[in-house]
């Protein structure tokens, strides 16, 4: 199995590892088959994602996609952020091995969940 140089770079130096205290949204996603778990925290200001942090239990691809999505999403409007797909994460990493495209590419799903969580919290407070 060969990871791209970019995957390895993000895997070795993951960006934005950790948690956000009192986050505006949290998305947690797990792969029930292989057991990967990802938790993504976002800070939202004026409908813009101003900060994102993650914690991931998973393989090299799972960690690299987590790291990449925190970079992709920063300073994006919620509308833009919702358009980030599994495909766009994989492309930003110069591709993922075929067998990793589905199982370890959960970051976009976690992001969409975090945004949904943010929206639900907002509704409740209205």
């Amino acid at each position: 199995m060969a990871y791209s140089a970019k995957v390895m770079e993000h895997f070795q130096n993951p960006r934005n590892v950790g948690e956000i205290e009192n986050p505006d949204g949290v998305g947690e996603i797990g792969n029930p088959v292989c057991g990967d778990i990802m938790k993504l925290y976002i800070r939202v200001k004026d409908d813009r994602v101003v900060d994102a942090k993650f914690k991931t239990f998973g393989c090299g691809a799972a960690i690299a996609t987590s790291s990449m999505i925190t970079e992709l999403v920063k300073n994006k409007t919620l509308e833009e952020a919702e358009k980030i797909s599994r495909q766009s994460v994989a492309e930003a990493l110069d591709g993922l091995p075929a067998n990793k495209m589905h199982c370890s590419n959960l970051a976009a799903d976690a992001l969409h969940k975090a945004i949904e969580d943010y929206k639900n919290r907002k509704k409740k407070n209205e």
């Binding site: 895997f11 057991g35 090299g60």
Partner: protein, 387 residues
């Protein structure tokens, strides 16, 4: 130069220089076909039969009971399918365990499609097959029991003699996959009381693509491949003479210092386990604490996925294996650890260190030096690890 440490000897081993030296003449000057009558063929035939005698001696078998194959997978296939097919009239039931190598498990699954029935015996938390479970499972239709000697992932050694005794009492053939134990410990087919035993050269510093199946005299078995009268018509195909010479030489070398090497490897794995658990918290041993091949240590590092550790160790020049889903090829964690009821996240967190001839105490020190930092970096990233 970057340091390289190989700790994956259960996957494969390098060919021993003396093995290679023994093999080389049979690629060129001694290239003859062992079935030919002329001097070229006779030379190959002599080497083939000398190798057979050597292998037989180390297994305490008769040379007529040694059949050379292309490796462990073929040996397992021949034993399982061969016996099932040849004994169809007697019955259609096979007993094996949940922790077998895929070569046995998939052979059984294939036979199920032909109408055979398989019982997959459970194991305890150490990976041991239960004696009474086997006893209960044997029925009139049972034609074969196949239980591995030492497990490739966790190293647990089964009480084969005892299990085989149960099968013998009921007149059922017993096969053992000894691919991981051969070359690492003494193998005596009579002490083990088995009817068939699989082995593979590349697991003990021999070449890849060559193995053997011991078949006790009198065992009825249908061949997988049909063709010439090689290997007493049980395995057609021109014999891989250089490979077979290499297999025999490798077995001879393994036996020349077996006890010493067993002790050395045991001490290395023990030292490694002690040091690594001193420096890293929350490590769990998978496999039997004592009944284990001396070179194998399977550890779970709580909260960290196996492949992510492998990649980090690889960047430091260290080669290990894992039972995690990503590395199993099936997207599911190791079937062995699952059968041992290791919780899913710990199965995902497992690493297999398998030591071998090249490893030294310095290697242990180096791995113990680099591993704590890797684990704590990954644990800091883990949503499921709490100190």
């Amino acid at each position: 130069m970057e340091r390289k440490i190989y700790l994956d000897h259960n996957a494969t081993t390098p060919v021993h220089p003396e093995v290679l030296e023994a093999m080389l003449p049979f690629y060129q000057e001694g290239f003859g076909n062992a079935s030919s009558i002329h001097s070229f063929g006779r030379e190959a035939k002599v080497a083939l039969e000398e190798s057979r005698e050597k292998v037989a001696k180390f297994l305490n078998a008769d040379p007529l009971e040694i059949y050379f194959t292309s490796g462990g997978t073929e040996s397992d296939n021949l034993a399982v399918k061969g016996v099932a097919w040849a004994n169809k009239k007697k019955g259609n039931h096979i007993i094996t365990s949940q922790i077998e190598h895929h070569a046995v498990l998939e052979s059984c699954k294939f036979l199920e499609k032909e109408g055979y029935e398989t019982t997959y015996l459970p194991v305890d938390k150490y990976g041991l097959v239960d004696h009474d479970e086997l006893k209960k499972s044997i029925k009139r239709e049972t034609v074969l029991v196949s239980i591995m000697h030492a497990n490739n992932e966790v190293g647990t050694i089964q009480p084969i003699a005892e299990l085989a005794g149960l099968a013998k009492e009921k007149g059922v053939y017993f096969h053992t996959d000894a691919v991981q134990s051969t070359g690492k410990m003494k193998i005596d087919v009579n002490e083990l009381n088995v009817d068939m035993l699989s082995l593979s050269a590349h697991k003990f510093y021999g070449p890849k693509g060559v193995g053997a199946l011991y078949i006790r005299r009198g065992v009825r078995l249908t061949p997988l491949a049909h063709g010439g009268h090689h290997e007493k018509s049980r395995r057609a195909g021109t014999e891989n003479v250089p490979g077979i010479v290499g297999l025999a030489k490798a077995l001879e070398i393994a036996h020349s210092d077996m006890q010493e090497e067993e002790r050395r490897l045991k001490s290395l794995t023990e030292t490694f386990f002690k040091k690594v658990t001193e420096r890293i918290p929350d490590i769990f041993l998978n496999g039997h604490p004592v009944l284990r091949i001396p070179n194998t240590l399977n550890l779970s590092f709580k909260g960290v996925e196996g492949e992510s550790i492998i990649l980090n160790l690889d960047l430091k020049g260290i080669g290990v294996a894992s039972g995690s889903a990503c590395t199993s090829g099936s997207l599911e964690p190791s079937h062995v650890l699952s059968a041992m009821r290791v919780p899913g996240d710990l199965a995902q967190s497992s690493l297999r260190f398998s030591f071998g001839r090249s490893n030294t105490v310095d290697d242990v020190a180096y791995v113990v030096e680099v591993l704590p930092e890797i684990i704590s970096k990954l644990r800091a990233m883990s949503p499921i690890y709490q100190k």
